[in-house]
């Protein structure tokens, strides 16, 4: 298959394998989380990233450790793609003291700030201005850092999107606006609440490049992000990248997602980003079947260890609720 054969060309083998590992890490992690939720070990709610792994991974593969990301309520994938430790991520989701946020954040807010993750926000769209500010900071400090801002299709109809994209554009800030268009915001089909078909087309309202990519093809995401990151680092300003993708599960752990037509679901299941990438890697000789299986085995083990760690970790002490309101208590 000559088309397939050209897919990975020009991307280093190591990068390809790392991306594959990360995607699988997210997938197995999320499956585990789903399972633990079923066992009542996870408080609150859950928004799984399963099916969308190519987006976070394809983007973050272009980022350095000191580049920033902002994340969302559906943030486990972003967190892991930026390099987070699975143990601390899992522990946070279980509300444990050993979690990244000492149990204060949970699933909707888990983030490793030391790796440039500026946090997962549960207010849809609210991190878009924050990403602009981080990018402004990069520009003002003159570091060549860039910012990748993840948000959903639903977020693109919030006023923050408009204000932020305009501000980033006028100041030519080093930021990628990565819209994860998974076709739904909760039960709402994005086409029912959005006046145009492609969110990327809104880029023209801000005079910035807008790109549409197959968000289930990590190579496509990677290439689009690379171009945007390069442009941003070199002072060329922001880019809006719309990744068309799909969540395999419902919006949250409680949602049976009955509002989605079965054939739509089926079709997208066939486009599973991990399966596709695995096939590509094997077809193009980057990995053998055996190597791919071995990677899966390793990751499953690591995820299992993370789960063990999280389950066994202690809860915070109740009084810790009073800490961290201010940097120093006065």
């Amino acid at each position: 298959m000559s088309m397939q054969a050209s897919k990975t060309t020009g991307i280093e083998k190591e990068t390809l394998v790392t991306m594959y590992r990360k995607m699988l890490e997210i997938r197995r992690f999320e499956e585990k989380v789903w399972h633990l939720f079923g066992r009542n070990l996870i408080p609150g709610t859950l928004h799984l990233y399963i099916g969308e792994e190519a987006v976070a991974v394809g983007v973050c593969a272009n980022l350095k450790i000191d580049d920033y990301i902002t994340s969302t309520h559906r943030g486990h994938g972003h967190c892991i793609a930026k390099g987070a430790d699975l143990k601390k991520t899992m522990a946070e989701i279980l509300g444990k003291k050993t979690g990244y946020c000492k149990g204060k954040g949970g699933s909707m807010h888990v983030a490793d700030a030391a790796l440039g993750n500026l946090g997962a926000t549960a207010v849809v769209g609210s991190a878009i201005p924050i990403a602009v500010g981080a990018a402004l900071s990069c520009q003002l400090r003159g570091t060549k850092q860039v910012v990748a801002c993840f948000f959903g299709d639903g977020a693109s109809n919030n006023g923050t999107f408009h204000e932020a994209l305009n501000m980033a554009a006028i100041w030519r800030l080093p930021v990628l606006f990565v819209c994860e268009n998974n076709l739904y915001a909760m039960g709402t089909r994005i086409s029912n609440v959005t006046a145009i078909e492609n969110i990327a087309d809104r880029a023209s309202a801000y005079g910035m490049p807008g790109v549409i990519v197959d968000g289930n093809d990590v190579i496509e995401v990677y290439r689009a992000a690379k171009e945007a990151v390069d442009r941003a680092r070199n002072g060329g300003g922001p880019t809006l990248i719309e990744c068309k993708t799909y969540r395999h599960k419902g919006h949250s752990r409680f949602d049976p997602a009955k509002y989605r037509p079965p054939d739509e679901v089926e079709e997208w299941m066939k486009k599973d980003p991990i399966l596709r990438f695995r096939n590509t890697l094997i077809e193009e000789g980057v990995l053998t079947e055996k190597q791919a299986d071995e990677i899966d085995r390793q990751i499953t083990e690591t995820v299992e260890e993370a789960a063990q760690f999280a389950v066994k970790s202690p809860y915070p002490q109740p009084e810790e609720a009073l800490e961290d309101v201010f940097v120093k208590l006065r």
């Binding site: 408080p43 149990g103 204060k104 549960a122 207010v123 639903g154 915070p316 109740p318 309101v325």
Partner: protein, 326 residues
């Protein structure tokens, strides 16, 4: 009479009002046929009344409220849903500067018969962005009425009144109250605004409580009763207008006031109650007013932490005993 949950009671109120008055329509995120409200309050309504009157919107809180304001000013009676009270922050200009001020600012020329429904409250382990109780902000915004039903019965009667009111009403609900149940009359009833309900009579200490705290206070009352202490639980039901008289009467009777509030303490609704009582019933007070509230922190995720910050029946029992001993 029939037993309904708070959610069902709200649903029934919406349905009845939509049947009664075709100017009533609902607008909000995921309230339509696909989701029927994050907490299912709008269940079946899109089916019955159509998606024109039960409108799913984009994630545009400011515009949801703004559009509801505009519709209210021009002859409709919108009920807007903001999925979580924490998200009212995105619509504060429309709520506090527009809805609240339009009648006044234009010298009475225009009115805004609008209801904004939104749930407050912690206890579901959904962390800092989904657990706040911000009633005090809206009490501090002249031009808004504020309803805070604690029971299914109150929820239905107050929501119907809210929809018929000619002023903007912030109709707050509580996530943990959603599953509580009341007996609901078959016949129609409305609960007027500004009438507190004494949820339990008693002579030793007045306990002011709203929402989930009413239920905690009722639990505490049972425990205290076994110790021979009878508390009187006053549930204001609406914060604006506020039934000061019922609160003051109770304090004049008991001589002691414990305020139990779920919001964070500083500048919360309890501060106002304390201030009113210390201004207007000072001479009846036999001991200092006491407030039990959440500490001044965001709501943490982990249940261990979250349970620590939310006042409960034990804290109320202790608070009442402290008050009686002081």
């Amino acid at each position: 009479m029939k037993e309904l949950t708070y959610v069902e009671a709200l649903n029934e109120a919406l349905r009845e009002e939509m049947m009664r008055d075709e100017r009533v329509f609902l607008i909000g995120e995921d309230i339509g046929p696909y989701w029927e409200g994050a907490f299912k309050v709008t269940k079946g309504l899109a089916k019955q009344f159509g998606v024109e009157r039960v409108r799913d919107t984009p994630i545009s809180e400011a515009c949801i409220v703004g559009a509801a304001v505009g519709a209210a000013m021009t002859g409709m009676r919108p009920v807007a849903e903001i999925m979580f009270g924490d998200l009212l922050t995105l619509a504060m200009d429309q709520i506090a500067n527009q809805a609240a001020k339009i009648h006044y600012m234009f010298g009475g020329q225009l009115k805004v018969p609008l209801v904004i429904r939104s749930p407050f409250g912690a206890g579901k382990s959904i962390a800092a962005h989904h657990s706040q109780s911000l009633e005090a902000w809206f009490m501090h915004t002249p031009g808004l009425k504020v309803a805070v039903p604690s029971t299914a019965y109150d929820a239905k009667g107050l929501l119907k009144t809210a929809i018929r009111d000619d002023d903007p009403v912030m109709f707050f609900e509580h996530k943990l109250c959603y599953t509580t149940k009341s007996m609901i009359p078959e016949e129609e009833y409305l609960i007027p605004f500004g009438e507190a309900d004494v949820k339990r009579e008693g002579s030793d200490v007045t306990v002011f409580a709203t929402f989930w705290m009413v239920h905690q206070a009722l639990k505490a009352a049972d425990k205290l009763s076994k110790k021979g202490i009878e508390i009187e639980i006053v549930d204001p039901r609406t914060l604006v207008p506020l039934d000061k008289e019922t609160i003051l009467d109770s304090v004049r009777k008991t001589g002691r006031l414990l305020i139990v509030e779920e919001d964070c303490k500083t500048c919360g609704i309890g501060a106002e109650i304390a201030a009113i009582v210390s201004e207007e019933a000072f001479d009846y007070l036999e001991s200092p007013i006491k407030r039990i509230a959440e500490p001044d922190t965001p709501i943490p995720f982990s249940p261990v932490l979250e349970n620590y910050v939310i006042p409960n029946d034990e804290a109320i029992v202790k608070g009442v005993i402290d008050l009686l001993e002081s």
